[in-house]
Symmetry: C2
Subunit: 217 residues, 2 copies
């Protein structure tokens, strides 16, 4: 499948590499087409990945992975261009963490709104699915790293078919179907994003980011 990965940070690099490994055609999107990290990524995955502007990547991809930093996501998607995004699934794995006032970060959108919802409202003809934002990126694409892969991930979005497609992608990443919990519509992104301060506290208390939560009942 042709997939756009917007954002060239560690998360974008991790997701992009996994997608290449799975045989997908990738275009990394960034603010400028000459982004150094994107060039390194393309060289590393010679022939299986390309790079361009947010707009180039969004035009290329049948599915869009949003791996930009949350506070820059809406600007990045505007640069990607509504026409290049319309009708497509946006898998939003970002968190609206604002580090501008020091640590710990606060959330720039919170409580009665979320970044996932804001993307959906700003680009109403896209199908936004919030996913994977609740863990370190190494686990997103390799859940088997811990506990034999037996822990949880969540999805939220308004379009049932889009969520089914995202579920298939998550399964291709190694997620066990029973551990992918569909929380409902895109308003459920609120809880998924507001979990981040607890994630950061647990990380701070344990000095280990390679953890996740498993629901027990």
């Amino acid at each position: 499948m042709k997939i756009a990965v917007l954002g060239t940070g560690t998360v974008g690099e991790t997701i992009g590499s996994k997608l290449v490994e799975l045989g997908h055609s990738i275009m990394m999107g960034s603010r400028i087409a000459t982004n150094e990290k994107a060039k390194t990524f393309v060289t590393k995955h010679n022939g299986k990945a390309n790079a361009g502007t947010f707009s180039d990547a969004a035009a290329f991809g049948e599915i869009i992975f949003n791996c930009t930093s949350g506070v820059g996501t809406l600007d990045a998607l505007k640069l990607a261009g509504e026409n290049n995004l319309n009708g497509k699934i946006i898998i939003d794995i970002s968190n609206p963490l604002d580090f501008s006032k020091g640590m710990p970060p606060s959330l720039s959108i919170v409580n009665t709104n979320s970044l996932g919802e804001e993307i959906q409202k700003t680009f109403p003809a896209t199908k936004v699915v919030k996913a994977l934002n609740t863990m370190w990126c190494g686990l997103m694409v390799n859940p088997g790293l811990i506990n034999g892969g037996d822990h949880n991930t969540f999805i939220a979005g308004n379009d049932p078919d889009a969520k089914l497609k995202v579920k298939e992608i998550l399964k291709s990443f190694g997620w066990i179907e029973k551990n992918i919990l569909d929380l409902g519509d895109i308003t459920k992104a609120r809880g998924l994003e507001m979990y981040l301060p607890l994630w950061l506290s647990i990380y701070g208390a344990t000095s280990n980011g390679a953890f996740n939560i498993k629901l027990v009942k």
Copy 2:
């Protein structure tokens, strides 16, 4: 030990009953001394529990359990009286959930502040420990109900000795020591309270409140 349980809802009743069962002397505190639920509680635990105003209960207790609804907590503690609270541990298990604008509730204090912190700031001579607010009250006092008791609870507060005492109480409730994670100072109440929207979403998606999270690594 003499313990005040502020709040006569399901949470207060559950915590109070467990404390009586463990041999503690309990006073339930409520806005009015003639509160019907408190009277029922006292009758049920004949001779081992008492009831009074928030102020009566706070004066009685060596330790205070805050089981009031989060949006009413600060008012309840003001009625309890600073002089009756000073020097004491307040175990804050409440969540500042605001249902006044319908479902889902929002948080009345959030992001760069939390109810736990606000209690600590309002009553600086108390020792606030946030605990147990991340689950259904049935599990708070009976973690063995699910997964053989192997799942996590968190504490946060500024006073190390107070946290040690709360840890002992949690262990007496059935919590396994390794599963009680100290997240740090009272600012970590932010993450614990901001987890609630995710808790509510999971509850909504599974129709089962008797769940908790287990950290896996």
